[in-house]
Each structure stands twice: as structure tokens, then as C-alpha cells.
């Protein structure tokens, strides 16, 4: 999963904390190994591999929860389908969120990786707040403000999660491997400069 290029640069970025809406985080951090000697580099890569593998289920759960909840809120907002919040989808989301929290609690983040873990935790926490707002909408008739608040919280969770994404490390916001248009790893030597008439 994690490429061998993972390493020091990621550690350096990971120790800098930003607010979830900070423009400095628009570009997601890359896992990359620079500036190490060979032995240090291998150790750093091993730590990163282990961390990325353990973080991936939490990252993926957050990614899917954000998409699922945003989709349900679109149906409420644009389609007037308030009944979707009474379907089993919401309890399923709550269960996935709870399970992700348990994984997160057990996620060891050595050294500078603590900051990356903090980004994951911020996304997870914001999703939880979004779920709570959606529940409040269901409990009080006409609670439009709760839906707006939930939308803000899910959008903030997305921004936070994006700062923790790195496709090379298996933490990608969108799975392109089987997608319709971009969906194959290029064969060796297949890529050439294209000349157009």
C-alpha cells in the first residue's frame, strides 16, 4: 500500500497544525522520503507504512460517512425528502462512526505522525457533530437550522479529511482504480508524448 517514497517530508508536514479551513492546507500533504540516510529512511518508511495501514480504515470510514451524509442532506434540501432521515441509513452511519472512533482510539501515531492523527480525529469529531445535528432535526419539527448546521459540519469534516489525504499512501479521497474514464494504471512504456495535428 504505502510506497517506499514515504518518509521525512511527511513527518515535517505532520507536525504543523492548521485550522481545518486554513488555506495552507488546500494542498494535501504527500508522503515522501527526503533527507534521510539509508538506515533512517528505511525505519521511517516502515513506521509510515504501519501507520498508514492502520489509519486507512478510519480515513475510509470518514470519507464514506461524509459522502453518505452529504447525499442524505441533499435529498432533504433539494428534493424535500425528509423521510430519508428515518431510513436505516442513519443508524448505519452512526454505527460506522462509532466503530471508526474505536479504531481511532487505538491508532498509534509515533513522532510527528500525531499531527496527522489529529487531522483524522478532527474530521471524525466533526462528522459526529453533523450526526448529532441531523438527530436534532429529527427531534424538533421544522428544525431547518439543524440541517444547516449539519451541512456546515459535514463540509468542515470534508476539509479536515482532505488535509489528511495522500493517494500514494492509500489515503485517497476518491477511488479511481476501477473508474470509468481514468481507470487503469498505465502499462509500462505506454505513455508517450501525444502529437495532435
Amino acid at each position: 500500500m504505502t510506497e517506499r517514497r514515504a518518509g521525512l517530508a511527511f513527518f515535517e508536514r505532520a507536525v504543523t497544525l492548521h485550522r481545518a479551513d486554513c488555506a495552507a492546507l488546500d494542498a494535501a500533504p504527500r508522503f515522501a522520503a527526503d533527507g534521510f540516510g539509508p538506515a533512517e529512511r528505511m525505519a521511517a518508511e516502515a513506521r509510515l507504512s504501519a501507520y498508514a495501514a492502520a489509519a486507512e480504515p478510519v480515513f475510509d470510514a470518514c470519507r464514506r460517512l461524509i459522502g453518505q451524509l452529504a447525499g442524505l442532506l441533499i435529498l432533504v434540501r433539494a428534493s424535500g425528502r425528509r423521510e430519508v432521515l428515518d431510513l436505516p441509513d442513519l443508524p448505519i452511519a452512526e454505527e460506522r462512526w462509532r466503530a471508526a472512533g474505536e479504531r481511532l482510539a487505538g491508532l498509534a501515531a509515533p513522532g510527528g505522525l500525531a499531527a496527522h492523527r489529529a487531522r483524522l480525529e478532527a474530521a471524525w469529531r466533526l462528522i459526529g457533530e453533523g450526526l448529532a445535528s441531523i438527530r436534532r432535526f429529527g427531534e424538533r419539527a421544522g428544525g431547518e437550522a439543524a440541517i444547516d448546521r449539519a451541512a456546515d459540519e459535514i463540509a468542515a469534516a470534508y476539509r479536515a479529511l482532505k488535509t489528511a489525504s495522500d493517494a500514494e499512501a492509500g489515503l485517497a479521497m476518491v477511488d479511481l482504480r476501477q473508474a470509468c474514464c481514468a481507470c487503469m494504471v498505465q502499462p509500462a512504456g505506454a505513455r508517450e508524448t501525444t502529437r495532435r495535428e
Binding site: 434540501r77 493517494a167 479511481l176 482504480r177 501525444t194
Partner: protein
């Protein structure tokens, strides 16, 4: 008399795409070039797009490095090729929610977006499924759904349930449920505004990638005539893709050239086209009365 001009605008391309992705069953038949395009419809004082492409800031590097997608250009540059700006676009028809069709809504600040309600509902459902079923949410970016929610809050997202006639004068939306995606949609332009039009164009989204999806090699099933061969990827079924193709063909009186596949490189062989200074193609499908050509 023609009300609308239609152009297909290339915004990026992948040089070597496996043929089996665009044509069902074409295994081990090599690679084809796959242009990424959106369509623009202009007329009656309106500017409408069919899909909006993707935002290179989010996906460009991984698409370039891992999938060989090249030469992305922004809507500002691409629409500039026909003398328009993204801010001129007032309507967008989103054929489906894959990242390369729904992935750049922010670049169109004045547009109202139309998408099938089922497309949103079923992707939300797919994201709730167990991890072992995650294939069913492939190529959908949760970020696009979040941005769609923002559009909904601004009252700029309209969800459509099935077919809708006259969404703009002479323009109809049609659904192809459980086909390429759960709530795929195509756009029919009746350019003479007649209910039984003799001048219809179908903008097929990803329900048809290439000409061979409509005029495929019949030899594969031992018939001499061309047959419909569906695209390679369907989260629904290839059967539903074939049924949608038949419906599209009915709408254009079985004149295959009037069903426009936006991933087809050979559009330039059928319609007037030019290559821009950026190396991207503009194809002119038709011109409204009085509209000057942008390719000659």
C-alpha cells in the same frame, strides 16, 4: 430553423485507455485514446453545459502520474475557445456523479445544476454499504457530493425524478436508471422545437462512450449488421445500457450520428472540428441560425 448551437469541448485526454473499458467484451484488444469532454449548448439566450469535467487541483497529479491523463485545461480556457466564459453558463445538466463529470461545479458560479435524484440517493446508499462492497462507490468523490450540498443550500441544485420535458425550450432530460450509474441521464435537444422532431440531438453522457457502442461489430454474435455493444463499466447492467441506447436511437430516428458520444476521438471525422493552441479539440455538432462557426 435551428434554435441551438452545440459544441463538444475537449478539456483533457488519456492517450492509452484499455479498449475493454469503452466497449464491453473487448478484452486484450489494446488501447484507444480517450478524450475527456463536456458539451455546450447555446441558443434562445441561454448557455447550458452537459457536465463540467473535474478540477485539476484536486485530482490532476494522481490522474497524471498513475492514469496517464494529460493536458487538462480549465473551463476558462476551454470555453474561451468558442468565445464564452464559465460565468456565462446558466444551466448545467449533470449526466452522472462520476468525478470527471460532476467534479468542477465551483467554476460555474451562475449556473443551476440538474441531476437525477436517484443518482444522489443511490450513491449515498452505496457509501453506507460494508467495506467488502466498496466497488459500488468507485469514482465518486465525497467532495463532489459535499459541493452538491452547498449548491442545494444556494437553491442551485435541482433533483429530477425520471424524465423531464422542456427543462429549457426544446430540451428534455431522460433517465437511464441502473445503467452506467444508478441515476444516469441523457439530454435531448429538439432543435426545431417540434414534439416529433426531425432535428434532434442526443448528448449521451457516459451511456455511450464511442461510436462502436451504437454501431458495434455484429460479427461478435455472427450477424452482418452493426449492433449495440454497451460500454465496459456499469454499476447497473449492460442490458439497461442497451435499452437506453435503443431509446436514444428512437429519439433521433435511428440516425446514429445524432447520438453524440463525448469520449469519442473520431467525432472530428464526422463533424467540423479544430485543434486549439492547447492541443485540445473543439467539435461543432450544429449551429443555431445566425451563429458563426467557431471551428472554421
Amino acid at each position: 430553423m435551428a434554435d441551438y448551437s452545440i459544441w463538444v469541448l475537449e478539456y483533457s485526454f488519456v492517450t492509452n485507455y484499455h479498449k475493454s473499458g469503452v466497449l464491453y467484451g473487448a478484452h486484450n484488444q489494446g488501447y484507444v485514446k480517450l478524450p475527456y469532454c463536456y458539451a455546450l449548448i447555446k441558443g434562445n439566450g441561454r448557455v447550458a453545459m452537459v457536465d463540467v469535467g473535474y478540477n485539476d487541483k484536486d485530482y490532476g497529479k494522481v490522474l497524471g502520474d498513475r492514469f496517464g491523463v494529460e493536458n487538462w485545461r480549465s473551463p476558462e480556457v476551454v470555453l474561451g475557445g468558442i468565445g464564452l466564459k464559465p460565468a456565462d453558463v446558466d444551466t448545467v445538466f449533470v449526466t452522472h456523479a462520476h468525478f470527471d463529470h460532476f467534479g468542477n461545479v465551483e467554476d460555474f458560479p451562475n449556473a443551476t445544476f440538474y441531476i437525477q435524484e436517484r443518482e444522489i440517493a443511490k450513491w449515498a446508499w452505496a457509501m453506507s454499504l460494508p467495506d467488502r462492497m466498496r466497488w459500488m462507490m468507485t469514482a465518486v468523490d465525497p467532495g463532489d457530493i459535499v459541493r452538491g450540498l452547498d449548491l442545494a443550500r444556494q437553491r442551485r441544485l435541482v433533483t429530477v425524478d425520471g424524465a423531464r420535458a422542456e427543462v429549457l425550450p426544446g430540451i428534455d432530460l431522460h433517465a437511464a436508471f441502473d445503467s452506467h450509474t444508478y441515476g444516469s441521464m441523457w439530454v435531448t435537444v429538439r432543435n426545431d422545437r417540434q414534439a416529433q422532431s426531425s432535428d434532434s440531438w442526443v448528448l449521451a453522457g457516459d451511456l455511450v462512450y464511442v461510436f462502436d457502442n451504437i454501431e458495434g461489430p455484429g460479427g461478435a454474435v455472427d450477424v452482418a449488421d452493426p449492433i449495440y455493444v454497451p460500454v465496459g463499466l456499469a454499476v447497473g447492467s449492460q442490458t439497461n445500457l442497451v435499452l437506453a441506447t435503443e431509446e436514444m436511437m428512437k429519439q433521433v430516428g435511428y440516425e446514429a450520428r445524432r447520438v453524440i458520444p463525448i469520449h469519442e476521438e473520431r467525432l472530428r471525422d464526422r463533424f467540423p472540428s479544430r485543434i486549439t493552441a492547447d492541443g485540445l479539440r473543439i467539435t461543432e455538432i450544429c449551429l443555431a441560425d445566425g451563429e458563426p462557426s467557431r471551428v472554421s
